[in-house]
């Protein structure tokens, strides 16, 4: 069979995750077309046999195949690409408008002759963001519809009631005027009767019209319930929920506090700290001196750079000069914004701004120009960017960087969290399931900072851990300890007392001895505290920072 997809490994776990039916079989597409082919009976038989996939599931499965299986036939790949191109225009909502998938017996595994094909040529499905925008637009459309109806009731019925009120007031003035006759004529009584009947009728009608708004409200509620269905269960187990358990809640608060302080939202952090319920976690926080940071940020926002200058003077950071200049520039700009009252102060600051050659000199000239123009410089294209509010924010974040050496962990966690949930949504959109309660690994590849080595055993397709460390064989190939155990299980069963277990490397024909396999430690190596060899220490320190 020429058009066959072969798995890299029959035990590959991913098969279960991408819903491929059997372990010993692999799906191959024989006569695939968007409209189906073959006789009706044949299609029915095949549908019964393997079920019918929606187009999105098919796309996902195919894309997974390209990632997880070796496609040994380039013609087949081209066929797939053509099919996918035609499927792009198909209606995805109806299951089974598509193609027939047949289950075929797996033939003998053939060695791969071509590298793994990527699917970068395929057109992408609409992104999650596009779908979300569509959902939000629909919510807006229904709400606008509601608002339009409410406004029309306002303009129509409230005006009518106002008119009725005016009519009644006019009648009251006319009929019940004390200066006039003491009796109301028969005509007057008829008028009163008609008007009162009309009043009752109008108010009832207005109420009825208002009642009709219920339909739109229910529609909105139904739409929100459907599209924003809320999670009632915990996403993971055991769930590190951050609300009910006191210690976990405090950990969450500590993360938030750290984030607030490092992003310039010091007033929020301060008010959190006043509650003093997570004091024990302050020691582990990223912010080295929250009080000082708070003073600097507040002073800067109030237009006072003295605390910042004082800090620069004491800390003497490498970028002292540029920071000083930025602070002075900001000060001068704020003086110009304040107008003539602060002219003396502005000039004083300008004199302190001793420019070097080049860019600084040009900056100095611009500042003088802005001073000459005064507040009008805000509108001038040449000086407008000097007055940008973002400059101050940048300055705050630059100064915050001295107190927060790295970005707050919560920032990184939330960035990855949103990305991960997006990916999970994509994964689910393809009709695939992930048993969050049981699995020990996320079902999709996530980008993460390379803080630790990550090694997936090529035999077992499992990440190596401390309990299942990677082992270097004598040929240089690295596989996991569990993989070696499995490779030697037969030998161990046959010769339980043998001290020299032999097996073949799965990648090269070299025979291995279990005793010669060496455990690999991926942990970063740091200099021990009691190290006495200063020269070596210096060298390693140099190595650790050389990159």
């Amino acid at each position: 069979m020429d058009n066959l997809l072969l798995p890299r490994d029959p035990n590959v776990k991913d098969r279960a995750k991408i819903n491929i039916p059997e372990k010993e079989t692999v799906l191959a597409v024989r006569s695939v077309s968007p409209k189906g082919s073959g006789t009706k009976k044949e299609r029915q038989v095949l549908k019964r046999k393997v079920g019918v996939f929606t187009i999105s599931i098919f796309k996902y499965i195919f894309q997974s195949w390209t990632e997880h299986f070796l496609i040994i036939d380039s013609i087949l790949l081209r066929e797939f690409q053509e099919i996918l191109a035609t499927l792009e225009d198909e209606d995805d909502t109806k299951p089974g408008t598509g193609f027939l998938v047949e289950e075929v017996e797996l033939e003998e595994e053939k060695p791969s002759t071509e590298p793994l094909r990527q699917h970068e040529t395929f057109q992408q499905q609409p992104s999650i963001n596009d779908k979300n925008v569509e959902i939000i637009k629909n919510v807006e459309r229904i709400t606008q519809d509601f608002k339009r109806k409410a406004n029309s009731i306002d303009t129509c019925w409230v005006t009518t009631l106002e008119k009725l009120e005016n009519t009644l007031t006019a009648m009251k003035d006319e009929l019940f005027n004390p200066k006039e006759d003491r009796e109301i004529s028969v005509m007057g009584q008829i008028l009163i009767e008609e008007t009162s009947t009309r009043a009752a009728k109008l108010v009832y009608e207005a109420t009825d019209y208002h009642r009709d708004l219920q339909h739109t409200i229910l529609k909105l509620g139904k739409y929100i319930n459907t599209e924003f269905e809320h999670p009632t269960k915990k996403p993971f187990r055991p769930s590190p929920e951050l609300e009910k358990k006191r210690n976990r809640r405090d950990m969450g608060f500590a993360l938030i506090f750290d984030y607030m302080m490092s992003t310039g939202l010091t007033s929020v952090g301060d008010s959190m700290r006043k509650l003093s319920i997570f004091e024990q976690y302050f020691d582990t926080l990223n912010v080295s001196d929250p009080e000082k940071l708070k003073t600097i940020v507040e002073d800067l926002q109030g237009g006072d750079i003295s605390s910042s200058l004082e800090f620069i003077k004491s800390a003497q950071p490498a970028e002292e000069h540029s920071l000083r200049k930025s602070l002075q520039t900001q000060m001068i700009i704020e003086c110009i914004e304040m107008g003539l009252e602060s002219y003396d102060r502005t000039v004083k600051q300008l004199k302190a701004f001793v420019p070097k050659e080049g860019e600084e000199q040009r900056q100095s000239q611009r500042l003088v120009g802005a001073l000459v123009m005064g507040q009008a410089a805000k509108e001038d294209a040449r000086y407008r960017n000097l007055f940008d509010q973002k400059n101050k924010e940048k300055l705050v974040s630059r100064l915050s960087a001295f107190f927060v050496p790295k970005e707050a962990p919560l920032n990184l966690i939330m960035k990855h969290g949103f990305k991960g949930i997006n990916q999970l949504t994509d994964f689910q959109d393809s009709g695939l399931q992930w048993d969050v309660w049981m699995d020990w690994e996320l079902p999709f590849d996530t980008y993460f900072h390379a803080s630790h080595s990550v090694f997936t055993c090529p035999i077992l397709k499992e990440q190596c851990t401390c309990n299942n460390p990677p082992m270097r064989l004598t040929c240089g190939h690295v596989i996991s300890k569990d993989a070696i155990n499995r490779l030697t299980i037969n030998v161990r069963n046959r010769f339980p007392r043998s001290r020299h277990l032999r097996f073949k490397c799965p990648y090269c024909p070299k025979e291995q001895n279990l005793d010669n396999a060496k455990s690999v430690d991926f942990h970063a190596w740091t200099i021990p505290a009691d190290n006495e060899d200063e020269e070596a220490e210096e060298q390693v320190k140099f190595l650790q920072f050389v990159e």
């Binding site: 924003f228 990855h416 690994e441 060496k518 991926f522």
Partner: protein, 424 residues
């Protein structure tokens, strides 16, 4: 069973599933994170509509009544009537029409206010969701910061940190994006209940009566039970009976007859026996239990999820960075740690979460922390078991006579002892 707990088994509201759950049919799970952003104003709109409709119905009935009174006097008139006989009724009709108009204006204003809130939220969320290549990065960052702040704010509100949440909203200019007022109300009710005052809770129940009845909530019953229990404790039985007759019977007679029987039993039996038999009714912490039950029911009413979206995001964020090699690192100072998950303050949250998945291998040099490859940074295994990249060896570990310095064992080794490795 504590008096603050529901008597029937808890029924989850809606057919919601988890983020990443088994039965999800929605287009986008990520939107479920913003469920509160729309659900709460929708609920407010619904309540305002229903209460407004009731006011309008009442006003219409009053106008009809006034018109009817007037019509009765003027129907089939054949002779003139004295002004005094009609003036009072006419003025009454005018006043009722004025009231109806004012009620209509008020109701519509409130409803459009809520609608405006939803529309404003739609605009802000659209801004966040739309991907625009031409948009400056700083705007993207600001939008991202606002998104983070919104979820943090919801979390703070749920944890009762009203003041920091308010400050966050003010700082981030997110007025109207987060419903602080409902959580303020919750907080107010909490404080009142802890002070043994059920009045704000009962008022809240009456405001949301329609919806509470629809979801079969017992919160009003539980709140009123506390008042009755206090009267029983004070041995003020006549007052307790009057209270039960006036307030308790109408709400329990059809829906919760067991509660009625129980409270009547407590009234009838001597206090000591009642304390023995109905421990939860006389428990010291019954007001705390009542508050806990109130929060549960309030979340059910607004269909707020059991856990904040912030929790889900944090879990996913940690899991996406967690590797099999992660473990709490107490040696390195927190501000120098490369891995977020290994921080001792974050590790407890990471325990039990799944690891991130990486389809490719990333092997780092144990010394320089650079990624090894098969070209210019070939990985070598040192006798200690550590992996050292070729770049680090060339940078400072090479010695004369084909030797390499092993910093781990503090000795020089032969080049052949550093073993080449192949990661497939």
């Amino acid at each position: 069973m504590a008096s603050g707990e529901p008597s029937t088994s808890e029924v989850p509201t809606g057919a919601g599933t988890t983020v990443g759950g088994k039965h999800s049919k929605r287009k986008s799970d990520i939107m479920s994170l913003d469920y509160c952003t729309f659900r709460v104003p929708y609920n407010e709109l619904n309540v305002k509509f229903r209460n407004g409709q009731k006011d309008l119905d009442r006003a219409a009935a009053s106008v009809a009544k006034a018109a009817n009174l007037l019509t009765k006097k003027t129907a089939g008139a054949t002779e003139p009537q004295a002004k005094e006989a009609l003036q009072k009724n006419f003025e009454f009709l005018l006043k009722q029409v004025q009231d109806a108009r004012v009620a209509m204006q008020k109701v519509l204003k409130e409803e459009t206010g809520e609608a405006d809130k939803i529309i404003m939220r739609c605009h802000m969320l659209q801004q966040e969701q739309q991907v625009n290549e031409d948009r400056p990065k700083r705007i993207d960052k600001a939008l991202e910061k606002r998104k983070f702040a919104r979820h943090i704010c919801w979390h703070l509100l749920r944890c009762g940190m009203i003041v920091p949440a308010k400050k966050l909203v003010a700082e981030m200019k997110m007025e109207g994006m987060v419903d602080i007022s409902i959580f303020e109300k919750f907080y107010e009710i909490e404080q009142a209940l802890l002070d043994k005052d059920t009045k704000p809770c009962i008022e809240w129940c009456q405001y949301h009566r329609h919806r509470l009845r629809k979801i079969g909530s017992r919160i009003e019953v539980v709140a009123r039970q506390q008042d009755i229990a206090t009267l029983i404790e004070e041995q003020n039985i006549p007052e307790a009976l009057a209270y039960i007759k006036k307030y308790f019977v109408p709400i329990t007679k059809t829906q919760f007859p067991d509660d009625l029987k129980k409270i009547m039993g407590s009234v009838a039996m001597p206090l000591e026996i009642s304390r023995m038999r109905n421990k939860e009714l006389h428990a010291e912490n019954r007001y705390e239990a009542c508050y806990e039950f109130f929060i549960k029911e309030a979340y059910r009413l607004y269909q707020l999820p059991e856990h904040s979206a912030f929790s889900s995001i944090v879990q996913m964020g940690i899991a996406a960075q967690k590797t099999a090699m992660c473990e709490p690192d107490t040696k390195t100072p927190t501000n120098k740690q490369r891995c977020v998950v290994c921080r001792p303050d974050i590790w407890p949250l990471a325990e039990g979460l799944p690891n991130a998945r990486s389809d490719g291998n990333k092997i780092l040099c144990s010394l320089s922390n650079t990624v090894c490859n098969d070209e210019d940074n070939i990985p070598y295994l040192f006798p200690s078991g550590h992996v050292v990249g070729l770049r680090a060896i060339n940078a400072g570990l090479r010695r004369a006579n084909h030797k390499v310095y092993d910093p781990m064992h503090k000795q020089e080794i032969m080049e052949e002892e550093a073993l080449r490795m192949y990661f497939m």
